[in-house]
Symmetry: C2
Subunit: 122 residues, 2 copies
């Protein structure tokens, strides 16, 4: 039996400086998580929806990354300015903020970036 | 578009010693996450299923807590010995390990524990 109507996960992984992938935390994801927590709290959704930090969601180069379950919507390149729209659309509603949502093109892009990283290493 | 077939989240929150709720990390959840990572890797599921650590999932007193999406199955009092069964049942399969899964009774129990904690504080 599930516990939360929606569950927001924000990658707050922190890598050492100079890592080729970078990391979501260096791109501001801790502030993004706090924006979710605040936005949920002000809507009286504490205990109904939860926003958690996570370890690396493996979308580093396209981060900050956020995933919302149970829908499994992935948002990439998120900023604090996007959080209210995401809450209204995908937490209160069941829609998708298309300009931020990952689709096949974004996952293909990530594969290409990773392939290039492997080539650079050789 | 979602990225992983299943996504396992393991609470690895660490509180200071003596906190009345305790915390999942003190109850061994970091080892549980590594057991998931290892179990997925040995099945060739890297990139298909991910096991992430999270901040506090707010089930502290009944932890270690694990939640698996998209199903939204919550497992409580998890040990490393349970991980293989959970992977086979809820990650490879779509079933539930009933002896560990949270239902209404567990969430009611948590509410009662929290109510008692509030009384103790007064």
């Amino acid at each position: 039996m599930t516990r939360f109507d929606k569950h927001v996960f924000v990658c707050t992984n922190q890598r050492g400086s100079g890592h080729p992938r970078g990391c979501c935390n260096d791109r501001g994801s801790s502030a993004i998580r706090f924006a979710f927590v605040d936005g949920l709290k002000k809507r009286g959704l504490k205990g109904v929806v939860r926003a958690n930090k996570t370890g690396c969601l493996d979308a580093c180069e396209l981060g900050p990354a956020v995933v919302i379950y149970p829908q499994g919507i992935w948002y990439l390149h998120v900023t604090t300015d996007d959080v209210e729209e995401i809450i209204e659309t995908s937490v209160i509603g069941d829609g998708v903020v298309n300009r931020l949502a990952a689709g096949a093109a974004e996952w293909d892009e990530l594969q290409k970036i990773r392939a290039a990283e492997r080539t650079d290493k050789k």
